[in-house]
């Protein structure tokens, strides 16, 4: 089953084309990371998925139903964090969640309190007091925003920068939370600038640049070995002698060797009596992939 499907989705704001002919497909159950520089159209895409922004052309299907026409049926099954969390600043976090829960249809009012306490506990705000949200720290607001997204027990979570403002421990907690939800069958789509975070969490990534979706691929495929092996040895000269022609690059005692199998290479070096202190198959990092595919973000202005 497909959770998100867009067909040549385009949005223009005046003369600016924010999203340009995007065909995005997200199957159910994956953890999908949406990447791209600032201003590449990620947020506009997410807003169109949720029916907040109307496409100039193209179509959106969410959970198999056309958006925004069937928003009333689809959106109760979707939890979202769009751009950054928001709350009524003069109310406490608990009051915010209760009112947000009461604002829409569905769910019995009698269970509301339990629902709210449940999501507060899940994001680590169970003991939160009656302070108004305007007194919350950035991290607390972020947790509250995620709690609001989880409130209705969604099948699909759309999270824009979910770890923004969280400290390393908080980021770890959110990763555990999202992995747990994913294991229970929730499809998670998140956008983030923290590539390491996406690398640790996602199974599939899409990369946007200047309004276009330039790549969608499973993370395993992107990070498959490049056919090179990094070798570190106190005796680089003998390695170069032994593997003449296979050494691609040499930097002091670190070598990059063209070899299809790191294990075979290791056996070969050890058999020749060469001490190996480090050996690993080279993989492209997500950062390399993204930087190769994308240009400078819209926040950089060159003459």
């Amino acid at each position: 089953m497909t959770v998100i499907r867009t067909a040549s989705l385009t949005k223009r704001f005046g003369r600016v084309t924010a999203v340009n002919g995007v065909d995005l497909t997200v199957p159910a159950g994956v953890r999908f990371g949406l990447l791209g520089p600032n201003g590449s159209g990620k947020t506009t895409l997410v807003r169109m998925l949720l029916g907040l922004v109307h496409p100039t052309s193209g179509s959106v299907e969410l959970l198999g139903r056309a958006m925004p026409r069937h928003a009333a049926d689809v959106l109760p099954r979707v939890g979202a964090l769009v751009e950054n969390p928001a709350a009524w600043p003069h109310l406490s976090g608990r009051a915010n969640l209760r009112l947000l829960d009461a604002a829409g249809r569905g769910g019995r009012g009698r269970d509301r309190k339990a629902r709210v306490e449940d999501v507060l506990a899940r994001v680590g705000l169970a003991g939160v007091d009656r302070r108004p949200v305007k007194a919350y720290s950035l991290g607390m607001r972020q947790r509250l925003g995620i709690a609001a997204a989880l409130l209705r027990g969604p099948e699909l979570l759309l999270l824009d920068e979910p770890t923004n403002g969280l400290d390393p421990r908080g980021i770890g907690e959110m990763r555990e939370l999202l992995l747990g939800l994913s294991a229970s069958g929730v499809t998670v789509v998140l956008s983030s600038h923290l590539l390491s975070e996406v690398e640790a969490l996602c199974t599939r990534v899409g990369v946007m640049d200047a309004g276009r979706l330039v790549l969608t691929e499973d993370l395993d495929v992107l990070r498959s070995p490049t056919g090179h092996v990094r070798v570190r040895t106190p005796d680089p000269g003998s390695v170069v002698g032994l593997l003449n022609g296979q050494v691609v690059h040499r930097d002091g005692d670190a070598l990059l060797v063209r070899a299809p199998d790191a294990g075979v290479l290791n056996a070969q070096l050890v058999a020749a009596g060469i001490t190996v202190t480090e050996l690993s198959a080279e993989r492209r990092s997500l950062e390399q992939v993204v930087l190769e595919l994308t240009g400078a973000g819209s926040d950089r202005v060159d003459p």
């Binding site: 959106l75 950054n84 604002a103």
Partner: protein, 276 residues
């Protein structure tokens, strides 16, 4: 959503401050009048003000006439301008729409909450000014003439307390309707911008323009359709027999404003890109 909207409004400090100020202004006037005993001469000053020193029961009418031209529209502009633009500026608008709350339902709830605000504002002013008026000026000497608690209408006929209560209630309803028309315009402006302040100032500009055009002979052709033209029609409710014509016309014009402004708000908001 309507319940949520009302709870949100009642928990805003700004709303209570508006109500307190609206009640405080007539009270201040009453205290000054009572201390100096210098009521404006009949025909001068605010409506009914000349009569209140002789009978405190007329003070609610005088208080409404005091807050009507400026202070009441300011508070309505503040609250209605905040309706959608305020949610947009805190970012809650997108979360409400994603919850999902239908856009028409959201607008309707906002209009209802603005209506509740103006109705409560007028009611609070009426109740507090009745208490203040009776405390400071008593029931008046005329009461003896007209029986227990009777007061004199503008036409000179004595009204019974029951008649007076009924007419005050009709005044409250009429003024709330007038203010709701302003509120509906504020709701429309509030869908045009993400800034609550801009929407509120837009409403005030609208009221001021209407007030400027009102006395102009050159604007006689459109005078009937200006919202402020009919604001003082409620004074006719204190004549005996009541002159219904101006009040009836006022009700039609205000309802027209509510329908048109709400329709415009809906037309703009239904397909608006929410980028806040």
């Amino acid at each position: 959503m309507i319940g949520v909207e009302l709870r949100l409004m009642l928990r805003r400090r700004r709303v209570w401050l508006c109500w307190v100020l609206l009640c405080a202004i007539p009270a201040l006037v009453a205290v000054l009048l009572a201390v100096t005993n210098l009521a404006p001469a009949p025909g001068q000053g605010g409506a009914f003000l000349s009569a209140v020193t002789s009978d405190g029961q007329l003070f609610p009418a005088a208080a409404l006439a005091l807050v009507l031209p400026v202070f009441l529209p300011i508070t309505v502009a503040l609250v209605s301008g905040d309706a959608v633009a305020g949610e947009a500026s805190t970012g809650m608008l997108r979360y409400l729409l994603v919850r999902p709350v239908g856009r028409l339902r959201l607008l309707t709830a906002k209009l209802v909450s603005v209506g509740a605000f103006v109705l409560l504002a007028v009611v609070f002013v009426t109740i507090t000014s009745y208490i203040v008026g009776v405390l400071l000026f008593g029931f008046g000497a005329d009461a003896a003439v007209g029986g227990a608690g009777g007061i004199t209408s503008l036409s000179g006929v004595v009204l019974t307390p029951l008649q007076l209560a009924g007419r005050t209630a009709a005044t409250v309803g009429y003024l709330a309707l007038c203010m709701l028309a302003i509120g509906a315009i504020g709701l429309f402006f509030s869908t045009l911008t993400d800034s609550p302040l801009a929407a509120a100032l837009g409403v005030l500009a609208f009221v001021v323009v209407s007030a400027i055009l009102l006395p102009l002979d050159a604007a006689a052709g459109i005078r009937f359709y200006l919202p402020t033209t009919h604001w003082l029609a409620w004074i006719d409710l204190f004549r005996d027999p009541i002159l219904w014509r101006a009040v009836r016309e006022g009700v039609f014009v205000q309802l027209g404003y509510i329908v048109v402004a709400f329709g415009a708000a809906w037309a703009n908001f239904a397909t608006k890109d929410v980028t806040s």
